[in-house]
């Protein structure tokens, strides 16, 4: 039954839609006022107790270490109180953006490397270039050159890898191969010293009925981590850095990347990669590896603590071996997300002092003692590593820093990895897409992003 005649109802509908569109445009214009430029902060007047507002998405052991170090800072500065705001990693970026745009912006915040968070925040003028303090505290000398590149952005936030130092990192990560020590012994395989030896080991494992590579690729990025392990050998420094840091003369379609992608597809076709990898979560893959399925587990150093707790000395680690025996190993890793000073902070000098304290060698040593790695190249005087595995990862990481062979994560090249890069790489590995066509698609999306800057 119609309470309102049909024709009138239609007019009402048209009117409503028109009102919606107009209201929408007005609301949209509202967001136009959201200007990123924030008045440069002044340092708080002396006297009284200062509260330093700090934001972090950290959790677990790292969070405990960070908070303990912050307590030490407060102990050394009785007039300073450090207030932490802790948000889970997933919702952190969105919440941080809101906090920075509010009237009560924090002083010190953790960002995230590249375009996912740091780039947009710098572009919006919400983070400070740290150069004056970098000179004062020697940050520009504290970190290896390869590490510093990941800390730099141009002041307009449009170029990653050059320009001013914007973030000071404190905890690092590196991608490599964990392996089941007992299985390698049974299969009579030595720890591979070249890429060929690694491939031969995969073949031997497969013929013996083992799962050569345990991989949980459901979230799609783990497949790209496998790609890092191969492209680190096949592609040049210039190519990998070029992709990440916006060098347009380098393209994803370069022969070295095509060859890397093709190798992964071949590995998959030969049955080297765990069946069911595409529907398996990384956690499940790790659990299977712990229970004895899989000879190699390619993943990041952040899994070390869990693996050594579950497998003791039956798990070990190496970086992808070089093509030519004895060459320095190259590895993808990051110096981790850094501490930033917000543009809105009125106590930037104090914030810088805090950041300096939080990233000194003393903290790096505390981190190492927990089985973690830091962006600092540390000489001697290290405490005993908590496990053999932690010791191996620490040594591998230090060699990469010392040799200058650290490579940045290729997915730092654009923020839309989840939409194009990860799924396309998964399709290439599965043989659903040719390396040439897939990489062309990935390059297209990277160029679209570079154009949008």
């Amino acid at each position: 039954m119609d309470l309102i005649p049909r024709a009138r109802r239609r007019y009402a509908l048209h009117g409503l839609m028109a009102a919606l569109v107009i209201a929408g445009i007005l609301v949209g214009c509202g967001s136009n006022d959201r200007d990123g430029a924030v008045e440069p902060g002044r340092d708080a007047a002396a006297g009284g107790r200062h509260a330093l507002e700090v934001w972090t998405p950290e959790s677990g052991t790292r969070l405990q270490l960070v908070q303990r170090r912050a307590d030490e800072f407060s102990a050394a500065h009785p007039d300073v109180k450090v207030n932490f705001t802790i948000r889970d990693f997933g919702s952190y970026p969105a919440q941080l953006k809101l906090a920075l745009a509010s009237d009560s912006a924090p002083d010190v915040v953790i960002g995230n490397l590249g375009w996912s968070l740091d780039g947009p925040l710098i572009k919006a003028g919400q983070l400070r270039a740290l150069d004056p303090w970098a000179t004062r505290y020697g940050w520009d000398k504290r970190f290896a050159e390869v590490a510093q590149r990941q800390m730099r952005f141009t002041d307009d936030g449009k170029q990653f890898g050059r320009g001013s130092i914007f973030g000071i990192p404190y905890a690092a990560d590196v991608i490599g191969w964990f392996y089941n020590v007992g299985k390698l012994k049974i299969l009579n395989i030595g720890v591979p010293a070249t890429l060929d030896e690694l491939e031969a080991a995969l073949g031997t494992a497969r013929r013996a009925g083992e799962v050569p590579i345990m991989l949980g690729n459901r979230p799609q990025w783990p497949g790209l981590h496998l790609f890092y392990l191969v492209s680190g050998d096949l592609a040049s420094d210039r190519e990998i850095n070029g992709i990440v840091f916006g060098d347009r003369s380098v393209k994803w379609t370069a022969p070295s990347f095509v060859a890397s992608a093709r190798k992964l597809a071949q590995w998959n076709a030969k049955g080297y990669i765990a069946a069911g990898a595409n529907s398996m979560s990384p956690d499940d893959a790790l659990a299977k590896f712990v229970r004895g399925t899989g000879v190699f587990l390619p993943t990041g150093s952040w899994n070390a603590a869990e693996l050594s707790a579950a497998m003791d000395d039956n798990v070990a680690f190496f970086l992808t071996p070089p093509i030519r025996k004895g060459d320095p190993r190259r590895a993808t890793g990051s110096v981790g997300y850094g501490w930033h000073i917000t543009a809105a902070s009125r106590q930037a000098d104090l914030a810088a002092e805090f950041i300096d304290f939080m990233t000194q060698e003393a903290f790096a040593i505390q981190l190492a003692a927990s089985g973690d790695i830091s962006p600092l190249a540390i000489g001697g005087g290290l405490p005993q590593a908590p496990s053999r595995l932690a010791g191996e990862i620490f040594a591998a990481w230090q060699s990469v820093l010392a040799n200058g062979t650290l490579l940045p994560y290729l997915d730092f090249s654009a923020p839309d990895g989840a939409e194009v890069l990860y799924p396309t790489m998964q399709s290439i590995i599965a043989g659903q897409e040719t390396p040439e066509r897939g990489l062309a698609l990935i390059e297209q999306s990277r160029e679209r992003f570079l154009d949008s800057l």
């Binding site: 309470l3 919606l20 569109v21 209201a23 929408g24 445009i25 007005l26 609301v27 949209g28 214009c29 967001s31 136009n32 959201r34 200007d35 990123g36 970026p93 969105a94 953006k97 745009a101 996912s116 947009p120 925040l121 572009k123 919006a124 919400q126 690729n217 459901r218 979230p219 799609q220 069946a275 069911g276 990898a277 595409n278 529907s279 398996m280 923020p415 839309d416 989840a418 939409e419 194009v420 799924p423 396309t424 998964q426 399709s427 599965a430 659903q432 897409e433």
Partner: protein, 291 residues
């Protein structure tokens, strides 16, 4: 004294309470989304008005188009299939007295009461390569048929569809069963007197009598197919490759991961229009078939 105008305003007065909620929680956010869709905005820096560019990009993008294509496939599994399967179930269980009928009905409805996240995680295990479905297939000697359902470029989307069918069939059965109670027994008597067999009776009495519930069931299930997000986010995240990417996944990624709020808003608006259009169509068809 009641005036003519007063009486005309009365229905609006009844609508007012609902409207008071509807405006701030539905209309205003929707208007905001429509507005955003005309801008290029990363959520932080100055938004730039770009007119219909976000819409042009959405229509030109093979990924966005395939996402809507996948949503259409899901309409079949979430809407058409549950309705087709629920009809005989509801009619059968209302006509015959099977022992344990109510228990059965409760069991069929149960998936509807479980949170989608739990459904997703459970089906993730059930459909895994070493999960119970494949174990069953292997036990039957059908080893060749055991596949990594959610990791397969061919089977992932239909597998998710079947999960949707399983979830929504109970809702349809319940709606139809309620509808069947409304059909006057005299109509069945008349049909019997006219010598109609069970099939004829179903077509002449039951189906027209269930027109309303079928329209409701289709509306609800089709909307849930179009806005599917949680099940896919929990199980496949749009993979393998882009085989299970649906508009909801794209909206989430662009808005909350890539910082492309305008583009996300445009896809959301297109999705809303599709939802409006499809539900309008379903109800128009149901209206036209009115006896």
């Amino acid at each position: 004294m009641k005036t003519r105008r007063g009486r005309a305003a009365l229905p609006y007065l009844y609508l007012l309470p609902a409207f008071l909620f509807f405006v701030p929680f539905v209309l205003v956010p929707f208007a905001h989304t429509v507005g955003l869709s005309f801008y290029d905005w990363d959520g932080l820096t100055r938004a730039a008005f770009t007119g219909f560019e976000n819409y042009r990009e959405a229509f030109a993008s093979p990924l966005v188009r395939s996402a809507f294509g996948h949503a259409l496939v899901l309409i079949f599994f979430f809407g058409v299939l549950p309705v087709l399967l629920a009809l005989p179930l509801a009619v059968g269980s209302s006509r015959t007295s099977v022992p344990g009928r109510n228990t059965l009905r409760t069991l069929i409805f149960l998936p509807q009461a479980i949170s989608t996240v739990v459904v997703g995680v459970s089906w993730g295990w059930i459909l895994a390569l070493d999960g119970p479905i494949n174990a069953g297939l292997r036990a039957l000697g059908l080893d060749w048929a055991a596949v990594d359902w959610l990791g397969s470029f061919t089977w992932a989307l239909p597998s998710l569809g079947i999960v949707g069918t399983w979830t929504l069939i109970g809702l349809c059965v319940t709606l139809f069963f309620a509808g069947l109670q409304q059909i006057p027994v005299s109509l069945y008597d008349a049909a019997a007197v006219d010598g109609a067999g069970p099939w004829r009776e179903f077509l002449a009495v039951t189906l027209p009598g269930l027109k309303g519930p079928i329209a409701v069931a289709l509306t609800v299930t089709v909307i849930s197919a179009l806005r599917a997000f949680d099940l896919i986010f929990v199980t496949t995240r749009g993979g393998p490759g882009t085989e299970t990417v649906v508009p909801g996944i794209l909206i989430y990624r662009r808005a909350f991961e890539d910082g492309r709020l305008g583009s996300a808003a445009a896809i959301a608006v297109i999705l809303s229009i599709v939802v409006f259009a499809v539900t309008f169509l379903i109800n128009r068809i149901a209206d036209r078939r009115a006896p």
